[in-house]
Amino acid sequence: MKRGSWLVLVLSFFVLGLNGCSTGTKATADGAGSSQDAAAGAAKSGADTSGAATSGMAGAGGMKADPLSDPHSVLAKRIVYFDFDSSVVRDEFSSTLEAHANYLAEHPGVKVTLEGHCDERGTREYNLALGERRAQSVQQFMELMGAKKGQVTSISYGEERPAAMGHDESAWHLNRRVEIVYQK
């Protein structure tokens, strides 16, 4: 499902991207090394389209390829991890969330769903609540950093959709997470 929504975003960006051009200075402020990422991204997407115009514009620091489909962009980081029984966003994820919040602020038509998850410990309904608390923590962070109300929705899957199947911390820490899912 994620891959599908990325594809649609790549296509839709070429409409949105023109808007991005008009707020060019803000776009290039996205995280460190973004112009390099953009060039790499542009070269990649240049292969998908007629190419020359895209890379030329990237060189000018204006329109660049959709950072959401760029595996080297900080926006490619879509998972935030949590400590056991905690919904506190750890410092190490601040810059990632800030990047997503900035992207949302610049693209008011874009929506994300934050999916909150837990490891298997504790009861299932408690974990539905904890997963929601985690998603809400991330939502609050993103809204404080510029995402608009209505752009971000929180949903919980509790312990029901683990990323890793084991019964010890090597699996558990991968399950205590919020996934940022961009909507088509």
């Binding site: 029984d85 504790g122 009861t123 309904e125 408690y126 539905l128 904890l130 899957y157 959709r161």
Partner: protein, 436 residues
Amino acid sequence: MLRKFSSWLFAGMFVALPAHAVLQIEITQGVEGARPIAIVPFAWNVPVPARDSVDEIIKSDLRASGLFAPIDKKDFIAWPNDSSQVRFADWRALGAENLVVGGVQAIGSILDVRYELLDVLRGQRMIGESYRKEPAGLRSVAHRISDRIYQALTGEQGAFSTRIAYVTVMRDGAGKPAYELQVADYDGFNPQTVVRSKQSILSPAWSPRGDKLAYVSLEQGPAAVYIQDLQTGRRDRLLDTTDQNSGPTWSPDGTKLAIVMSRGGKREIYIVSLAGRTWSRLTSVLPGTFHTEPVWSPDGGYIVYVAGLGGSQAHLYRIDIDGNRSQRISFEGKQNLKPSFSPDGKQLAMVHLDSSGYHIAVLDVTSGAFRILTPAMRGLESPTFAPNGRMILFTEEGGARRTLGAISADGRVKQRLALQEDGDVQEPAWGPFLSP
């Protein structure tokens, strides 16, 4: 996928094959002080081979209660089928306090099951009864006899004719799960599938008359409560909303459900009237807290729920149905989760988290006395009381998968029920007494 399901269909059909339970009961801790009882193999005067053994079912039932210790039949000197054939001295020598004898005969295509319960010490007959049933119902007759014996010897109602609901999870080679909500006899026999899904099913809750199950399904993404009629198989979503809702618990009169619903970022307890699907909010959260896992008191007057207090503390609160008098009722440890009432309303079972891990614990509602029933165990979820308040069924981790564990309310007897095939069984809910 079909291969796995077909063996379950077999278990539910009456064919001339040994019946097997989908769940296998294993007693992991026996009991001292259980009353020795001798159950003699019943005569089988039926022209077809026996698929189920009435005496073995009675033996399993009484042993599972934790109150009786059936004597091994290889120690029996004689196998009487009738009280007139019994020499009480033989049985006193074995240490039996009670003796059960009986037989099954065919009357046309119906089975006639006859039994007698005897007092060995006094040398006299206590009960003698007979039942007529079609062959497919033989197990239910045996359970009914167990109920009668249990009642006669303890004064309490037996729970051997009750049913349990639970969720099974089977995974294919790629690890993709398939969920089934099933209902079976309390001993795991005669499983019937209520609903199948590729997404999680959790929190089954029996209606007070045992005719419906409410449960939570993630089939449409966000958690939503469904209600299904067990007789017709018809079901519908409780509420037409995209707000996440879960944690159903029935009012004792069967007209309402209390649920958890998340609205405007707040997770609180709501009461939904089934007739018009109207709802009202019962609790209100402070910022940073949530409410979940409501359970309706058997007297109908109040609801117990879990309040997540922040700092990963979570404790039990009670609130009257009219929304008044909210007060905290659990104080031990770090978390107390998934409260479940004994049907007399006097005890609450729960999952208790302290510094040593997760345990099953029981709170006496009147006195406030708090007992931890188990050592720290893994995978603990969903404690559910038998309707006679004697046993608590729960999810635990057995090996690398989820199984059901059972413990007597006094902590003495422990059992495990594992799925015979390679999968998880979880989310048990013990059904109510059914009118015979």
